[in-house]
């Protein structure tokens, strides 16, 4: 589809409640391509925006299982197959001893999956993003709350949407360049 002239419209609010209210209204009005920015996590917003629960836990599970298997197989292969050695009369396949490193590799795999997964799903790193073009957006990491309706939204209309946002009595509405 044709690339819209701007990224979207950004409304700034003083209070988290106003933002929640705004998001609800926007969703009610049928807007779908919108995003809200807050200085701290706000559960209600996720609900309000109808964010689907993340697939992260699955990734973490896979990471853990992978790490664990790799760890145990490494130990079994080196001790039993690669170079079997009689160590203090213990059996070659000393599984009780192998449990410990296996646990550690499991945790390691899971943790790495969690962090990388989170970044990947969030599309980070992304040092450049259009919303940063709005100077006041800097306050989103302090005490202001922003709602951005993106131009790609089917209902988006540069003038109409601005008026719609004005009605939510924001402190300020600004256009977001690409």
């Amino acid at each position: 589809m044709r690339r819209p002239p701007i990224h979207g419209l950004l409304a700034e609010f003083d209070d988290v409640n106003d933002l929640v209210r705004a998001v609800r209204t926007a969703r009610a009005a049928g807007f779908r391509r919108l995003d809200a920015y807050t200085p701290f996590p706000v559960e209600e917003l996720s609900h309000a925006m109808g964010v689907r629960p993340s697939r992260l836990p699955l990734l973490v599970l896979l990471g853990g299982v992978g790490g664990g298997l790799a760890g145990y197989l490494l130990q079994w292969w080196t001790a039993v197959v690669a170079y079997p050695i009689n160590v203090g009369g213990r059996p070659l396949h000393s599984w009780p001893a192998f449990v410990v490193p296996t646990f550690e590799t499991t945790v390691l795999g899971a943790a790495i999956a969690a962090v990388l997964g989170m970044l990947a799903l969030n599309g980070l790193p992304m040092p450049y993003h259009p919303v940063f073009n709005v100077p006041r957006f800097a306050l989103s990491s302090r005490d202001r709350f922003f709602l951005c309706i993106e131009a790609t939204d089917p209902l988006f209309d540069r003038e109409g949407t601005r008026r719609f946002l004005e009605r939510l009595v924001p402190r300020h509405v600004s256009e977001v360049e690409h």
Binding site: I85, V87, G88, G89
Partner: protein, 992 residues
């Protein structure tokens, strides 16, 4: 075993040594190396450096050739292959198999008396001395000082040149000077010529000296040995009117009484006695009984069934009492400390009576002549002569009262009657009795010549010092305790061109002759009796004994008036007892790191001597371990640190000779205190009226065993003969080793060989021969006093010593502890890099090049037998010390754990030979170094899978038990509990 061939072509070898000197040292400076002119110059101007070159070369020659273990273990693993050279022979001696050691039979004389040895030689480097089974004084065993003679050969501080007034001189210069002096003597029959030697048993040397005296009829020959046998000689003279030699057949003695006699550590037959006694210590009907009366606890007292601590000076009184009880007419015993021990004496006497003709009373060498005479009388009265007590003609070539001989020399010197003095060996300036002031008198001699291995106290005061050839570098001969002669053959050309007494004497009186010719010609003369001399000579060299040279037993008769009591000395104050150090002897081995660091049998001290006294005495004097006291006797005094020895006689102080050297090497000097400073000619071993005065200063000892008690743990297990009869399995009353099937793990099967070891605690005398053999075999490093004190000593095999029972009369128990080679080794499980693990034959192997040094294995070893290279302990720079190493064992580098591996290098050699021949290793074919050295055959090693092997049979003995077996470590090394044979009549004395 022994190579039938003559030693490798020494002259050729010499040539190689001297020849390619330059290349080795100056490899970095090629232009120097290439110029032969430089070398010539070097040899003329700086003979000692030339020697140094030779030294480095022949190490290069052999070690490089063999690629012996010199690299930094571990580093090479990840490094590029090192640049290495191969230096083959030009003409290879045909008996030499590269990588295979050759063994040559020779002997090491100590105090004149020889112990036969087999010298192991790797491509021309002697690397180890082992006992010669065919030699009567060795029987295959060897004691620490004899073994350590090897290290003496490579001592980098050996004198390397002839010097005069501190300047390096040439041999020809020496000959010119001394020959001139001798010519001046000739017209006067050599009235001003005196020769001082140590005890001489060498037939060749004796012949040479006789020749010298024939040429100079007025000349005098003095013999003197600091730790000599004057008393025994004098005792024999009193008893029999002749200086007969007395030896004992303890294998036939049911009852033995040792009168302050350290049977196993001193005297020419020490190894033989140990073997004979041990042979009668195996539990059973044939078990003998040993009584020991002694002041300082010795290895003899430790194994004795009954030990009585008695001041050395009271032993004569004790002996008199025994003699009187036996009904001999002897001078009344002074009312001495014997009285309280009447029951003991009574029981002893009954026991002796009960075994007439099958008992032996052995006097200590440092006991006064009277005691020796008494002992002779008692043995005579008990009809032991010819049975357990054997008399022969003197073994010494010319038996003399050495104290008198030395006195005469000093008198002559002081009178200015000595113009030329040849000191062939020995170190009288250091060791002569203090009251003689030998050094002072020596100053009056016009020409003083000293032949010795080191630049010592005596060399310092002599005009000429000759660097002697080491016993392993020279031809000679010497007699054993029974007179058997051994031809001493060199293992290597003199490293520093040293000369033997034979060569010096020969050159002084006639044309120069190599020692080989001197000795050989002497024997050619002797042998003239007919037969093929060459065959005789080769056989003698090969066997290490000259056939039919043992002296025949002779009958002797007790001479009237033999009993002359020793004049009663002032009993006030303490008695001071002088003993040769167990390892440094009279100080001749003071620069020997192996011996300095070997823990003394009872005290476990290293690198020190001390004023040894009983706990009660220490308490009375208010002194403790490490207190420095001033020992004063007869107006002389010395400062000595105190060491308290449980079981030492009361009011008696024992000091060991051989320490406090002022000259003669970095290891020798500044270690311990000089006990000779207190020793006078008329009180050579026992001085009365001594006093100890604390100085308030402290001295730090390096003792390898801090804790003396077993803490009630069943470590060393022992029982009396009666108890053993009642419960042959008494050793298992203590612990319960879990049964093999009580485990979660499937067992590891050991097919083929399964190596194991059994150590008989009943036989062990704690002499440390095994520990030193292990050190020599396995390139174990010497670390020095400070490191020992910090718990960094490196001995793979240690002999634990525990005291049990009464502090004043304790039981003394020995326990050799090598690696136990546990089947369930705790050390292996915790090693993160598999540097220690099990091989297919059950060895707990230690892979030095894999070890990263976590020391976890040592922490987890309940026996604490692992040793760690906290620093770079192995000497990687001194060329001669590298020569001394066993090329079959990796030299460990810094940061690496090491331990006993049952001499795995010997196992591999034996296995390879067996497999090449397509057979199994036969039992007894493979022995470990410790087993080989042990005089009492207490250590037995072999294949426990073979039920017929000696070790398997011993492990089947109910006495066999595992140390700390309850830990279920399944040690392959186990112990046979000791069984004592105390006199039932002395139940109170019993120990168990």
């Amino acid at each position: 075993m022994t190579s039938a061939a003559a030693p490798i072509d020494l002259t050729a070898l010499r040539a190689r040594l001297a020849g390619r000197g330059g290349r080795a040292l100056w490899r970095s400076l090629d232009e120097l190396a290439e110029s032969p002119a430089f070398l010539e110059l070097l040899h003329e101007e700086l003979p000692q450096h030339a020697a140094a070159l030779a030294r480095s070369v022949d190490r290069r020659q052999f070690l490089k050739l063999m690629a012996a273990s010199l690299g930094l273990a571990g580093l090479a693993a990840c490094a590029r292959p090192p640049e290495d050279k191969i230096v083959p022979y030009v003409k290879q001696p045909e008996e030499l198999v590269l990588g295979e050691p050759l063994f040559y039979a020779t002997a090491v004389p100590l105090g004149g008396f020889a112990v036969g040895v087999l010298a192991e030689s790797h491509e021309g480097r002697p690397t180890k001395l082992e006992g010669n089974p065919t030699h009567p004084a060795s029987l295959g065993a060897i004691d620490p000082p004899t073994q350590a003679t090897l290290l003496g050969l490579y001592d980098p501080e050996r004198s390397q040149t002839i010097t005069s007034a501190g300047k390096i001189q040439t041999w020809s210069g020496f000959l010119a000077a001394v020959r001139a002096a001798l010519d001046a003597q000739r017209p006067r029959g050599g009235a001003g010529l005196h020769v001082l030697t140590e005890t001489v048993t060498s037939p060749t040397l004796h012949a040479q000296l006789r020749a010298l005296l024939a040429e100079f009829p007025q000349a005098t020959w003095h013999q003197w040995e600091p730790a000599g046998r004057d008393a025994a000689r004098a005792g024999a003279l009193r008893a029999f009117g002749a200086p007969v030699e007395t030896r004992y057949d303890l294998a036939r003695a049911d009852v033995v009484l040792a009168l302050d006699a350290d049977l196993f550590a001193t005297g020419p037959s020490r190894l033989r006695y140990a073997r004979e006694i041990a042979g009668r210590r195996r539990p059973g009907p044939g078990m003998s009984r040993l009584y020991a009366v002694e002041s300082m606890p010795t290895t003899t007292g430790a194994v004795a069934d009954h030990r009585l601590a008695l001041a050395a000076a009271d032993v004569e009184g004790f002996t008199r009492t025994v003699a009187a009880e036996l009904g001999l007419a002897v001078a009344a015993a002074p009312a001495v400390a014997v009285a309280p021990h009447h029951a003991w004496v009574r029981a002893l006497v009954d026991d002796l009576r009960a075994h007439r003709g099958a008992c032996a009373v052995v006097p200590g060498e440092h006991q006064p002549p009277a005691v020796h005479a008494l002992a002779h009388a008692i043995n005579d009265a008990l009809g032991n002569g010819g049975r357990t007590v054997i008399h022969t003609d003197a073994v010494e070539a010319a038996p003399t009262d050495q104290a008198a001989s030395l006195r005469a020399l000093v008198a002559a010197m002081r009178a200015g009657a000595v113009e030329v003095l040849l000191i062939l060996g020995g170190n009288p300036v250091y060791a002569a009795p203090a009251d003689l002031d030998f050094a002072g008198a020596l100053g009056k001699v016009a020409l003083r010549v000293h032949l010795s291995l080191h630049q010592d106290e005596t060399s310092e005061l002599c005009h000429w010092h000759l660097n002697a050839a080491h016993v392993l570098e020279a031809w000679s001969d010497a007699r054993a305790h029974d007179g058997t002669v051994t031809i001493l053959q060199p293992l290597i050309a003199p490293l520093y061109g040293g000369r033997s007494a034979h060569e010096v004497l020969a050159a002084l009186t006639g044309p120069e002759r190599p020692g080989h010719d001197v000795v050989r010609e002497h024997w050619q003369g002797v042998h003239s009796g007919g037969g093929d001399f060459e065959a005789f000579w080769r056989r003698a060299l090969n066997d290490g004994v000259v056939p039919d040279t043992a002296l025949a037993p002779r009958t002797v008769a007790l001479r009237p008036g033999w009993d002359v009591p020793t004049p009663a000395a002032p009993a006030a104050g303490l008695e001071l007892v002088f003993r040769p150090d167990p390892y440094l002897i009279d100080g001749r081995f003071a620069n020997n790191g192996w011996l300095q660091e070997l823990p003394r049998p009872i005290t476990k001290l290293t690198w020190d001597n001390a004023a040894l006294l009983a706990p009660a005495t220490a308490e009375r004097l208010g002194v403790a371990n490490g207190d420095v006291v001033e020992v004063a006797v007869g107006g002389r005094s010395a400062h000595a640190p105190v060491w308290v020895v449980p079981g030492h006689a009361l009011d008696s102080v024992t000091v060991h000779l051989g320490y406090g050297r002022r000259r003669g090497g970095a290891l020798a000097t500044g270690v311990g205190f000089d006990a000779y400073a207190l020793r006078t000619a008329d009180a050579p071993s026992i001085a009365r009226g001594a006093a100890l005065r604390p100085t308030g200063r402290r001295h730090a000892f390096a003792c390898t065993q801090d804790h003396q008690s077993m803490e009630g743990r069943a470590l060393v297990r022992a029982a009396t003969l009666a108890e053993w009869r009642a419960h042959p399995d008494f050793a298992h009353a203590f612990e319960e080793t879990p049964p093999r099937d009580r485990t979660l793990y499937p067992p590891h099967a050991y097919e083929g060989y399964a190596w194991g070891m059994a150590i008989d605690l009943g036989a062990c005398i704690g002499c440390n021969a095994c520990a030193l053999a292990c050190q020599a075999e396995n390139n174990v490093a010497v670390v020095g006093k400070e490191e020992v004190a910090r718990g960094h000593e490196m001995h793979w095999l240690r002999v634990d010593r525990y005291f049990a029972g009464d502090l004043d009369a304790p039981a003394i128990l020995h326990q050799p502890v090598p690696c136990m080679q546990c089947e369930n080794a705790p050390c292996e499980v915790v090693c993160p890099v598999n540097a220690t693990n099990h091989d297919g034959e059950g060895l707990n192997v230690m892979v030095y090049n894999r070890c990263v040094g976590t020391r976890y294995c040592s922490n987890n070893c309940p026996y604490k037998v692992r040793r760690f290279n906290f620093y770079l302990y192995s000497d990687w720079t001194t060329e001669t010390l590298k020569m001394a190493r066993n090329p079959d064992v990796t030299v460990r580098s810094r940061g690496v754990m090491e331990k006993c591996t049952y001499c795995v290098q010997r196992i591999n050699r034996a296995r390879i030979h067996a497999e090449e021949a397509g057979r199994r290793i036969a039992d007894g074919e493979l022995v470990t170094a410790c087993q080989q050295a042990c005089p009492t055959e207490a250590i037995v090693f072999g294949d426990v899978n073979d039920p017929t092997s000696r070790v398997a049979r011993l492990k089947a003995d109910p006495r066999n038990y595992a140390l700390l077996g309850e830990l279920n470590t399944r040690p392959r090394t186990t112990y046979l509990a000791a069984v004592r044979n105390p006199n039932p009549a002395l139940a109170a004395e019993q120990r168990s």
